[in-house]
Symmetry: C2
Subunit: 224 residues, 2 copies
């Protein structure tokens, strides 16, 4: 159980500063679309070499036909251990092609099972059972489920078993408290702005980890 | 009614060559995620200045929380007239924020109502009515619906009215013939590989336009 730092729209300089401070304390780094569009592959490389032996996740939230998802992933595969795609696109000529590419290239596939914002209730939750079944069939390394709705995490954990990794965004500006998702069955909490916008990212990370540990003691789970 | 060229994973050089040949014959250019990740904003600029007065569409297939979709769009807004996002992310704290940004910045919003590959039948079609209602509520400039399933285009056109623009991918490698989507109610057919992989992109475009016109005569619609 742990903490993943989300870097979405920082400059390379700022991202490097924050990584230097917090690298030792986080389990992974998730890089969002704005950063990937704004910066070059050499920027990505310098970022990655500044914080090795962590789980590096490309969060393009891929949601296209298989051909485009594979072409996109192929462009960034060298810099990442895992990529995130939407389960909503379905399997045939979609996730099947992406999963095959990931298998063949030693990449971890993470599927969004549902999202953290209010709008996820309009469609993503409505189709939750089908989404869960798609995740089951694709059998990816991990899934994304929102810290803002622990009951969804709990449901997915109970019905998909203990092997799949659950990654949960939504802590901080979106409303969830550190540790709540871990208590519901997540393996990682994803935190961005609460760390990147802090005057002291290191202090923010340490406070989040303390809060996670407190919450986990409350719910009777041993961390790490 | 017309034709949009899709540029997904070409080099800048190749894209410029093709655009020089076919610019006069197409109504718009849709740029996909691989191209946007691989190339810089100055590449985008040179592409755009090589073929002006056309509809330039950024096809990131945005599917994230509102904050990330807005940040991403803001990075590329200067180069495009329209952007594509997925309707399945829902409205609250999602598409509402993106639609507001588009309104304020004179960008056309295009929502994916459903997709062109087989996998779209697993989830996207299952939720078609809800998807249609989200499109109705957001009231975007346009929507994406697959040329591979004209019955879905027909349904969306009949239930959403004549004002909304319908853009249809899926012609060529994915199986639809030029003109089929237009006959079902689309405004634009989106064609990529059938043109970009041709030995003569210009000839490919001219043949597609001829085929569209033939098909439209068959179904009794006057083109342009």
């Amino acid at each position: 159980m742990g903490l993943i730092l989300a870097i979405d729209d920082l400059s390379v300089k700022k991202a490097l500063e924050i990584l230097n401070d917090v690298c030792d304390y986080v389990d992974g780094i998730k890089i969002g679309i704005p950063f990937l569009i704004r910066n070059s592959s050499s920027d990505l490389k310098s970022l990655k070499t500044s914080c090795t032996k962590k789980l590096w996740i490309a969060d393009l939230k891929l949601a296209d036909i298989g051909y485009i998802m594979v072409r996109t992933t192929d462009l960034i595969a060298g810099f990442f251990d895992a990529i995130i795609a939407h389960s909503f696109v379905g399997i045939k000529n979609g996730l099947d092609e992406l999963a095959r590419y990931c298998d063949e290239n030693g990449l971890k596939l993470v599927l969004v099972a549902t999202m953290s914002h209010e709008g996820a209730k309009e469609l993503y939750d409505f189709a939750l059972i089908r989404m869960r079944d798609i995740v089951k069939q694709v059998n990816p390394w991990g899934l994304v489920a929102p810290a803002t709705r622990p009951e969804v995490i709990y449901f997915l954990r109970r019905t998909l078993g203990s092997k799949i990794k659950i990654l949960s965004p939504g802590i901080g500006p979106q409303g969830a408290l550190p540790g709540e998702a871990l208590c519901a069955g997540s393996n990682y909490e994803i935190v961005g702005r609460l760390i990147t916008r802090s005057n002291s990212p290191l202090k923010a990370v340490q406070e989040i980890i303390s809060a996670q540990k407190r919450k986990l003691r409350e719910c009777g789970i041993n961390m790490r």
